[in-house]
């Protein structure tokens, strides 16, 4: 059981890490800090605007695949993968 609870704790840490990034790119960069970030340019995009309409979405995609990959590693490490 203790192995299972360590697995669960590792999962929670991973989820919190991913959600911190999720929050940063959308709420922080896309909404709260949008004005200062707009002073920086990414080609024709203002950076804050880019995060709100493009960057956050790309990050979300990468984040889910990262989570899936790390979880598969954790599953094997703790020996709880599906047989």
């Amino acid at each position: 059981m203790s192995d299972n609870s360590n697995y669960w704790k590792a999962n929670l840490r991973l989820v919190l890490f991913c959600l911190a990034i999720w929050f940063t790119v959308s709420y922080l960069f896309g909404i709260i800090l949008v004005e200062p970030l707009n002073a920086i340019r990414l080609g024709g995009y203002k950076l804050g605007f880019w995060f709100a309409q493009q960057g956050s979405i790309y990050t979300f995609v990468i984040l889910i695949f990262f989570y899936a990959w790390r979880m598969n590693v954790l599953d094997r490490k703790f020996g709880v993968h599906e047989k």
């Binding site: 669960w8 959308s26 709420y27 605007f49 984040l63 889910i64 695949f65 020996g79 709880v80 993968h81």
Partner: protein, 578 residues
Amino acid sequence: MDLQTITYIIVGLTFALYVAIAIWARAASTGEFYVAGKGVHPVLNGMATAADWMSAASFISMAGLIAFNGYGASVFLMGWTGGYVLLAMLLAPYLRKYGKFTVPEFIGDRFYSRTARIVAVVCLILASLTYVIGQMKGIGVAFSRFLEMDFDHGLYVGMGIVFFYAVLGGMKGITYTQIAQYCVLIFAYTVPAIFISLSLTGNPVPQLGLGGKMADGSYLLDKLDLIVTDLGFKEYTTAVMGSQLNMFVYTLSLMIGTAGLPHVIARFFTVPSVKGARSSAGWALVFIAILYTAAPAVGAMARLNLTTTIQPEPGLHLAYDERPQWFRNWEKTGLLEFEDKNGDGRIQYVADEQKNEMVKVDRDIMVLANPEIAKLPDWVIALVAAGGLAAALSTAAGLLLAIASSISHDLLKGVFTPTISEKNELLASRITMGGAVIVAGYLGLHPPDFAAGTVAIAFGLAASSLFPALMMGIFSRRMNKAGAISGMLAGLGITLLYVFQHKGVMFIPGTAFLGGMEENWFFGISPNAFGAVGAVVNFTVATLVARVTAAPPAHVQDLVDYIRIPGINKQVRLETSG
């Protein structure tokens, strides 16, 4: 060949394809009917989820919303995609591990309560039914505009197609048709976007074209900002929707609501494994992101094209008699209206209400008119019609399945007639599916007055009731029956109260006791954005109530372990009691 013939051919071909798939993918068991036999490949499920998720609103309305709200419309872009992060990490893998058929079934088992299951069924049906009305309307509109068939008959044809493949194939039939529908809709969305991006910026990738330079060497977005502010509108790239706080809460509500919508969650019951559920959520978002990252380009370029057509140079206004053909076409539908206020025969399109002569520019026409504005060939226009229909049909089918399975599986099998045989349950689910199609069609033909406000309700319900209950059921071992039920009711209650007090009880005009005025909004939060507050209330009430009531029984705590740990295979004894 004229446009209408081409449209008939393309739409007819796609419909024939859906019917053929339905015949090939008939469901033979309840497992196939509810969850496609749990055998759908994660990438294919991702594609089906994308079609399930992207409705007529995503396909037709979103780019228009972006075009006219600029930066403010980012709430929809982030809200409707960020929800998949929550889904992938907080719900989908665990619900797949749980491994049964419906969302209320999980809530009933986890909270060992038939009452909780029934509350969940009610939330699910309310949320899904309000959502499906919009799809039905979308189907009718697409038919009436492109095939010049009247609205009612268009709706009958659409209902007939959905009826055929959903009743016959259940989740299995719906899954494979949704995959085909995804291909149709994404092709239909990106082809015009590529052409338009190419013509404006020389870059075929719309996502890059939006940040690119135009032929005159200026950046497209800078030029757009300049043009719209000249006319007195808010600057495109910085226009805030309401306030920053409203945007924050709005985005959060849409994200939580997205993750809590039962027809989307149900798609993750169909993959073969927990591992598959995790990656499938990623694939779903890849397929969704293709459209969602192109939409800002479509919106901005449409706004630019529209504005520069009407006002080619600052101070130079298009003469009404020289207006282009697409302008004339859309005037006929009443969605575009011109009124020559100063009588000079020219079109003034400005922010000032007194001087503005474009008295009506319906934002929904942006995607549909775009190919015409950009002078693309007829087959592209026909393709857009087929794409809009694919988007509406696929979402309607997913919603109807969620409704039908919660009635036949949760109410009939789970509560009223637990001894029903599998064969009879399959028959019952087909009959309820048929019934659901007819009810949805009826509501599409006679949309209740509140149809416009229903998006608020659907997302509000999912965010304030279903998502918190599911999440706490997985992440809190201590959460019990009393906590979950009181949390769901409290979240639901406060969300409905807020929406009704601003938009009218059941949206009946005149019963809005606080009025729809912005000054009465709680911290300036719009009613559509209130689901997140409802979710916070749900979490708080549930946690407090659970703390002072008895812990869940041992077999339920075993169930929590079972869904958390992928490798536990032993079947947990599940009991449901009153």
